[in-house]
Symmetry: C2
Subunit: 220 residues, 2 copies
DNA sequence: CAAATTTTTGACCGATTGGACAAACGTTAG
DNA sequence: CTAACGTTTGTCCAATCGGTCAAAAATTTG
C-alpha cells in the first residue's frame, strides 16, 4: 500500500488537494510557527525542531504535514507575496495622484506595523540573493511595478506630480516603510524608551507624508 | 607547555596583541573571506568550512587564527561599525544645511555602492534582532544620532530647513540608501537588463536628491 | 461494534556542523 | 647545525541537522 501524505508539493497538479479539518488546522499551525522562526533566523538558520516545538508538535508529526523544510518555506512565501503586493495593486489611475500616493505610503506603513514578520521573511530572502523567488521578481513583480510606474509617469506628464523617476520613487516608498519592520530593533534602540513606544508609527507616518510631498526645503 | 594562539579574544586586556607578519596577513585574508560568506548567508547560515575554503586554507588552520566562529564575526562587526558610521560623524554644523544633508545622502549612497557586503552584514545582524550588537545600538549609536538630531533641529529652528522629525529623517536616509545594497537583487530585477546596469546608482542619486529637497509636489 | 484510515510518536540514520588535538612541517635565532 | 617557536594539516569527536520508518494511537467510516 502506498503511503499517504497530508502535504501536497507545489509542483503537483493544480486540483484542490482536499484536506481534512485536522490537516487544515495543523498546517495552519505549522505555517504560523514557521513564520515566527524563519523571519527571525532566516531559512538556513532555522531548524525543523524549532518550528515543531513552536507549533507544539513532534518533528516527525510536522514532517507528516510538510515533507521537507523547503516546502514550508515555499508555501509561506507564496502566501506572503499575494498580500505583500496588494497595496501596490490598489494604486489606481482614478483619484488625485498626491492623495493616491499618500494612501499607498500609509498602507505600506500599516503593513510594516501589523505584519513585521512577513516583512522580515521577505527581507531575509532578498538579502540572501532571492534564491527561491528570483523568477517571481523578474516576472510578476517587474510587470506590476512597470505597470504602476507608467501610471505615475502619466501623472507627471499631466503636471500633477513633480517629474522624477517612478521606479526609484517606488523603491523609496518600499525602503522607508519596510525599514520600520526590518530594522525595528535599531529604530527602537535609537529612539529610546520614551519615543520608541507605540507612537513611533504615527511619528513615522507624519514624517514620511511631509518628506514625500514637500521635501526638506523651508517654505517661502 | 601552554598552547599558543595567534588570535586574541576581544575580552582580553587592551594591550596591542603584537602579531607576526604572517598572522596579520592571514587574519586579514580570513576576515575578507568571512565578510563575503557571512554577508550572503548570515551567521548561522555560514559554516567555518565555507570561510576556510574562500580564504584558501584548511579549517584547523583557520581555527588557529580565530578560535571560534563567533570571534570572526565579532571582529568583522567591530571594524564595520567604525567605517559605517563615519559619514554621519562627518555631518557638520558649519556649512549650508541643505548642502550638508545632500552630501551626507551622497556619501551613504556611495557606501551602498562600494561596500554592499558590509551593508548586508549589518542588515543581517539587525534583521535577526541584533543579538550581538544591541549594547552598541543603545549606547554609541543612539548617542551619535541624538547628537546629530540636535544639530538638525538647530537648523530647523533657524529656518534653514523645513520643520520635521530629525530622527525619522535620519532613518529615511539610511533606509533609502542602504536599500540599494541590501535589496540589490530586487532593484536589478525590477529595473531589468537595460536600466539595472551601472547607471542605477546615478539615477538613484538624482532621485533621492530631488525627493529629500523638493518632495513630489509639482512646482508652481 | 469492527474495519479502515488518518494521525502521532520513538527510535533511528547518514550527513554536516563547530571545534579539539597531536603530529608534522616550516622558520628563525643562537 | 640545532633548539625553539610559529604554522599547517589529518584525524577525530560529540552535537545537531534534515529526514525515514514502522508501529502505536486516535479517528473516521460502514
Amino acid at each position: 500500500m502506498l503511503r499517504r501524505f497530508a502535504g501536497v508539493t507545489a509542483t503537483m497538479e493544480g486540483s484542490a488537494p482536499r484536506r481534512t479539518r485536522i490537516q487544515q488546522e495543523k498546517r495552519e499551525l505549522i505555517l504560523e510557527a514557521a513564520l515566527e522562526v524563519f523571519s527571525t533566523n532566516g531559512f538556513r538558520g532555522s531548524t525543523i525542531d524549532q518550528i515543531a516545538e513552536a507549533a507544539g508538535m513532534s518533528k516527525p508529526n510536522l514532517l507528516y504535514y510538510f515533507r521537507r523544510k523547503e516546502d514550508i518555506h515555499e508555501t509561506l512565501m507564496q502566501r506572503l507575496l499575494d498580500t505583500w503586493l496588494a497595496p501596490l495593486r490598489e494604486l489606481d489611475d482614478i483619484g488625485d495622484p498626491l492623495t493616491e500616493l499618500r494612501s499607498y505610503i500609509r498602507r505600506k506603513l500599516e503593513m510594516a506595523r501589523d505584519f513585521p514578520r512577513e516583512s522580515r521573511l521577505f527581507a531575509n530572502e532578498i538579502l540572501q540573493g532571492a534564491p527561491r523567488i528570483m523568477p517571481m521578481l523578474e516576472g510578476e513583480l517587474k510587470t506590476l511595478v512597470d505597470e504602476k510606474a507608467a501610471i505615475i509617469k502619466g501623472w507627471m506628464r499631466a503636471g500633477k506630480l513633480a517629474r522624477t523617476d517612478p521606479w526609484h520613487l517606488i523603491f523609496a516608498i518600499w525602503a522607508t516603510t519596510q525599514h520600520y519592520a526590518d530594522f525595528d530593533v535599531q529604530v527602537r534602540a535609537v529612539l529610546g524608551a520614551d519615543r520608541g513606544g507605540d507612537g513611533r508609527f504615527e511619528d513615522a507616518a507624519r514624517f514620511l507624508e511631509q518628506l514625500f510631498l514637500d521635501g526638506l526645503k523651508p517654505k517661502g
